[in-house]
Amino acid sequence: MVVVEAFHRRLLGYLYIQTGSHDLADDLAQEVFLAAYEQRKAIRSEKALKSWLFTVACRKASRSQPRTRTQPLPEPGAADDPSSPEVISPWSGMQREKAIEFMEGALRTLPAEDRELVTLRYFGELSIKELSETLQMPMGTVGVKLGRALEKMKKHLLARGVTFGDLLP
C-alpha cells in the first residue's frame, strides 16, 4: 500500500493526460498496481519500481488509444482549433482554470510520442535517466526530444498570445 500511496497521484495524472478520461485513468492505474503486485519479486528497488510502473502505464495508455503514435489528440473546444486561433492580448487576470485549459490544449496538440515524454517527465516526475529506461532510448535523445516537445508547446501558446510566464500563479 505504500507504493500505491506514493505513486497513485502521479499515475492517475499521467494516465488522465494520456487517455483524456478520468474513469479510464482510474481503471488503468489499478491494473498497473495489480501488475506490479504480481511482478513484485522481479522489481529490484524503489527506483526500478518507478520506471517499471510508468513503463507498464505507457503500454496500457497506448493500448487504450487506437490512434497512431504521431497523431495528436484532438483539442477540446473551438478556442484551440488551429484554423481559428483565439489570440488573447494583452494577457491579464487569467484564471487558473483557463491557464490549465491552455496548457492542456498545448499538451494535446503534441504528437503522441512527445506528449508521452512530457507527461512522463512532469506528471510522473521521472528523471532523464528514468525516462531513458522507461522509453528505452538514450539519455541524450531524451533531452533533445523533450526540449523540442516543450518548444512546440511554447509556440502553440505564443500563437494564442500566451507565454509560460502568464500561466504561472
Partner: protein, 278 residues
C-alpha cells in the same frame, strides 16, 4: 521543490515551472475525482493476495509488461514460425522437382553469359577451352556453341554469330529460325546444321533438312551433301560438294557431356529425396 535531480540544458525556467505547476494542479484534480482510490486498491490487492501463488519449482521469467507475452501467445508464435519454415522447405523441395529445365544444359571451360533473352541482350562468349549447350524455345532449338565463339541471341528465333562456330538442332515444325552473320543469313526449318566463321568467310554445313543461305547479293538453298560458302556481304553465297555431312565430333561431345551432367544432377537430386519403403 524541484523533483528532478537532473536538468535539461537550455530549458526555459518559466516553462519548466509552469509545467510543474500545471502537473500538480491536474494531479490534484484527477486524484480528487478518484475518491477512495487507495481503499479500492487495498481491496483488490487483498483479493490478489488470496489467490494461490504459482507452484514452486517452476521457473517463470518475469519481465516488464511491454516484453511479457501470454503463454498461449508465445506458443502460437512458435507454431507460426514452425509452419512458415515447413512451407519454405516444402516450396524449395517442390521447386527443385518442378522447376523447368535449365536452358543452359551444359557448359565447360570459360563461358560468359550476359544479358537476358527477354530483352534480346543475351550474349554467350566461350574462350579457347569453352563450350556450351543452350536451348531455346523450350528445347525445340538447341545451340551447340564451340570454343572461341561470340554469339548474340536476339530472340528464340534469331541469333547473331560474330565469331567462332555454332551448330544448331532445330526440331521439325519448330517454326522459322535464323542465324545472322556479317556475311549473310541462314534461315532454317527443321534441320541440323552448322555455321563456321573461318577467317573471311562463313561455311555452312548441314546434316539433315534444308536451309536457305542468303545475303544482299543472292541466296542458295542447301541440302545434305553440299555446303555453302559465303565470302563477303557483297558476294553471293555458293554451294559446293561436302563429303563430311555428319555433325562434327565436338558437337556430340558437348551433347554427351550435357546429357551426363543432366544425369548426374538427376541422380544427385533423387538420392536427396527421402525414399519410401526402403
Amino acid at each position: 521543490m524541484n523533483p528532478f535531480p537532473d536538468e535539461i540544458a537550455g530549458l526555459d525556467p518559466q516553462m519548466d515551472a509552469a509545467l510543474r505547476d500545471f502537473a500538480d494542479e491536474v494531479r490534484e484534480e484527477v486524484a480528487g475525482r478518484a475518491p477512495g482510490f487507495a481503499d479500492r486498491m487495498r481491496a483488490r490487492l487483498a483479493e490478489a493476495r488470496r489467490k494461490p501463488e504459482r507452484p514452486r519449482g517452476r521457473v517463470v521469467e518475469i519481465v516488464p509488461e511491454r516484453r511479457a507475452q501470454a503463454p498461449g501467445g508465445r506458443k502460437s508464435w512458435i507454431a507460426a514460425v514452425a509452419a512458415m519454415l515447413l512451407l519454405v522447405i516444402a516450396a524449395s523441395y517442390l521447386r527443385g522437382l518442378w522447376s523447368p529445365r535449365d536452358p543452359v544444359r551444359f557448359r565447360e571451360g570459360g563461358v560468359a553469359i550476359t544479358g537476358n533473352l527477354e530483352q534480346g541482350t543475351l550474349r554467350i562468349v566461350t574462350d579457347a577451352a569453352g563450350g556450351c549447350v543452350r536451348e531455346l524455345d523450350g528445347g525445340r532449338i538447341v545451340l551447340y556453341i564451340h570454343h572461341g565463339t561470340d554469339l548474340g541471341v536476339a530472340s528464340s528465333r534469331e541469333v547473331k554469330l560474330d565469331e567462332g562456330e555454332l551448330w544448331v538442332n532445330v526440331r521439325p515444325a519448330s517454326g522459322p529460325f535464323r542465324v545472322v552473320t556479317d556475311f549473310g543469313n541462314v534461315d532454317v526449318k527443321g534441320t541440323v546444321f552448322g555455321v563456321n566463321l573461318a577467317g573471311q568467310q562463313a561455311l555452312i554445313r548441314i546434316e539433315r533438312g534444308e536451309v536457305s543461305v542468303q545475303n544482299s547479293a543472292g541466296s542458295v538453298s542447301l541440302v545434305p551433301g553440299r555446303r555453302a560458302r559465303v565470302s563477303g556481304a557483297g558476294v553471293a553465297p555458293v554451294t559446293e560438294p561436302e563429303s563430311n555431312t555428319l555433325t562434327p565430333d565436338w558437337v556430340w561431345n558437348l551433347e554427351e557431356k550435357a546429357n551426363g551432367a543432366a544425369e548426374d544432377q538427376y541422380y544427385r537430386s533423387s538420392h536427396k529425396q527421402p525414399s519410401k519403403g526402403n
